[in-house]
């Protein structure tokens, strides 16, 4: 499992890419990915192109990110989900909280 963060759009867009299993072991790395960056960021993208699996603590981490990004006014998009990951997000009805593409 690896977590990579990259800034774009003049430091306003943060993309966090997660490869491998996204579970509790990613907790610290995932938090570091968005907590360490400048407060200018107002648009977040979570790239799950390389994510093979998602568990409920990963869903919890996504909620933490959403909270960090402003709660109900947060702009968080989840992209490139494979079928399994998409299914887990759908069961949890996370499309009501995140833009999923």
């Amino acid at each position: 499992m690896t977590v990579q963060a990259s800034l774009a759009g003049n430091g306003r867009e943060l993309t966090i890419k997660i490869d491998g299993r996204f579970d509790f072991s990613a907790h610290q790395e995932f938090r570091d990915a968005y907590e360490g960056v400048s407060s200018q960021v107002n648009c977040y993208t979570v790239d799950m192109g390389g994510t093979s699996y998602l568990d409920s603590s990963a869903l919890g981490m996504l909620l933490l990110l959403r909270d960090h990004a402003g709660g109900d006014s947060a702009d968080v998009t989840i992209v490139n989900c494979n079928q399994d990951v998409r299914k887990i997000l759908t069961i949890s009805n996370f499309e009501q909280l995140f833009k999923i593409q």
């Binding site: 603590s57 869903l59 909620l63 933490l64 069961i91 009805n93």
Partner: protein, 567 residues
């Protein structure tokens, strides 16, 4: 380096004195002995940190003494360095083979001796630290296990089995499920029927167990007081949102099984698809429509229920993701397809519940079980289960309110979106003698109140309910009237008189409606309406309509005479 205690065992007095002088000069404390037997005794009495041992000694040689001392030392590490004038490789190797840790050749070189002493001293310290840490971990673990047992005992009292043992329920739940985050609750509603909740908290261990406690308390407490499932859901969501940190939540499926109306109202948030297996083998899929409990604020929370008509024998199968994610030896998951397969091949002789258990056990055989496979089957019954609680009245007069009266007047805005029944029931339950009649009191109150509200305040015509179509139309009309309600009221008066061993409760409900001709109501019997009144007559000593038919007065006496307890 800190001074340590050193035991020197050598039968040659000169050699011993030389060695002793060197070691003392380096600041260590020394105890001298002259043979192996004395060395063993010296180890016990002096408790040295390190032993310098001659190989050849009378009485008992160094190797033999070493074996004894090492055995006595048990888990403690006592470095033993052999002193020898032998130089051939085999002899030196034999020294280490008999349990020694190192050797030192005569004549002694003080620099090498000092280096060896400090090296073994470090090693001994490291060993002690390790031992200490290991003991601490072991004792912490024991402590934790004990705490979990206590927590589990407390949890079991709060989240008791409820009515999970009812005839129409079968379930599978790991004994330590509270620590894997799964909760399974079932409670009978005061007016018959039941509420069932299957929940799955994020994470494992104590955080999951902590969230489960208020959930269970709210679920059982509010169900017993007659709250509707939507109100219970809202309260649970509010509570969990308030106490759980962001990122922790509870996926849940909640069912309100209405046996009289033959339907199930289901709310699902964040749980995988569940199934409704019909009598005829047809399978319907129930899908989560909402976010898990504890994620959204109550303003955003959606408590809409999906209604499924259920015939007698239709069964609901509910589970958490544990079943789907149970793994076999190769790490493969049990998955939705295998589960669905069982249902698609269901027939009358096949016990689906048992099939799931069997196939799951076969699938996971040989792999380490995750052990959070929670499953429940809820079957629709022909008739409500009503258990009369036996009154456990102590001899001696009962305390509690005996002579009291209360009035409660509800205006249109209150009537629109507030259910006064739980509060009313709560007040009645303060009378110990009425407690055992909770279910019947609820039925009476619910029936009388909804009659006054629907026919009186809203002015709905009960004859609409004479046909199945009209029944639907009736509820549509009710919804419409409720939206536009602007005036009207209901005035509830409760009063109680008694002597502590028996008593009478009078319920009087007056509404602002036009009333009705109550002359012929007792004889009326049709399958859709009027069901309530005969039922109430059975419980009440008297039931009378007054005024123009907009006032109803019921009197309930306790203790209940035996012939009235049969249903």
């Amino acid at each position: 380096m800190d001074a340590i205690r050193i035991l020197i065992a050598d039968d040659n007095q000169i050699d011993r004195m030389v060695l002793s002088r060197i070691v003392r000069n380096q600041g260590h404390e020394v105890y001298e002995v002259a043979n192996g037997v004395e060395a063993i005794e010296g180890y016990s009495s002096f408790r040295p940190d390190l032993i310098l041992m001659d190989v050849m000694m009378p009485e008992m040689n160094g190797k033999e003494a070493t074996r004894h001392i090492k055995a006595n030392a048990g888990e403690d590490f006592v470095p033993i360095i052999f002193l020898t004038s032998l130089t051939d490789a085999q002899s030196l190797a034999d020294c280490l083979g008999s349990g020694g840790d190192d050797f030192l050749s005569k004549p002694y070189n003080p620099t090498i001796l000092q280096a060896k002493i400090s090296s073994f001293s470090r090693m001994r310290q490291m060993h002690q630290t390790l031992q200490h840490q290991r003991d601490m971990i072991a004792s912490n673990n024991e402590h934790l296990m004990h705490e979990q047992q206590v927590a589990k005992a407390v949890f079991d009292n709060v989240a008791h089995d409820g009515c999970l043992s009812a005839d129409n329920i079968r379930y599978m739940l790991s004994p330590l499920s509270v620590f894997n985050g799964d909760v399974l609750l079932a409670a009978q509603k005061p007016a018959g029927g039941m509420h069932v909740l299957l929940g799955d908290f994020t994470g494992h261990g104590l955080p999951a167990a902590i969230g489960a406690m208020p959930l269970a308390e709210i679920f059982y407490g509010m169900t017993a007081k007659g709250f509707a499932i939507r109100e219970i859901l809202r309260e649970i969501n509010l509570k969990l949102k308030g106490i759980l940190p962001v990122g922790f939540f509870c996926c849940a499926v909640v069912v309100d099984l209405n046996i009289e109306r033959k339907n199930a109202s289901v709310w699902m948030g964040g749980v995988p698809d569940c199934y409704l297996l019909r009598n005829n083998g047809k399978v319907e899929t129930l899908t989560s429509r909402y976010l898990p409990l504890g994620v959204l604020s109550n303003e955003q929370f959606n408590d809409d229920l999906t209604e499924f008509p259920m015939a007698e024998g239709d069964r609901l199968f509910l589970w958490s993701d544990g079943i789907l994610e149970a793994r076999n030896q190769n790490g493969e998951m049990f998955g939705e397809q295998r589960l669905r397969h069982i249902f698609d091949h269901a027939h009358a002789e096949l016990d689906v519940f048992e099939q799931i258990q069997q196939q799951l056990a076969q699938f996971t055989a040989g792999s380490e079980r995750d052990d959070d496979t929670t499953l429940i089957e809820v079957r629709m019954l022909q008739e409500s289960i009503r258990t009369d609680l036996d009154m456990h009245l102590d001899s001696g007069p009962l305390s509690g309110p005996i002579d009291w009266e209360m009035e409660y007047r509800l205006g249109p805005d209150t009537l629109k979106n507030f259910n006064p029944l739980p509060l009313m029931i709560h007040i009645m339950m303060e009378v110990p003698g009425l407690r055992a009649m909770g279910g019947q009191l609820y039925t009476v109150m619910a029936e009388l109140f909804s009659n006054s509200f629907e026919h009186g305040v809203l002015g709905l015509d009960s004859s609409l309910k004479n046909s199945a179509d009209g029944f639907v139309q009736y509820y549509r009309e009710r919804e419409k009237q409720l939206q536009v309600l602007q005036q009207g009221h209901i005035h509830i008066t409760l009063s109680h008189q008694g002597d502590g061993r028996s008593g009478a409760l009078t319920i009087r409900i007056e509404d602002s409606g036009a009333g009705f001709d109550y002359g012929g109501i007792q004889g009326q019997k049709n399958p859709y309406s009027g069901r309530g009144i005969p039922l109430i007559s059975q419980v009440c000593e008297s039931l009378n309509y007054l005024g123009k038919g907009n006032i109803v007065e019921a009197v309930i006496r306790w203790p209940v005479s035996p012939d009235k307890r049969t249903h």
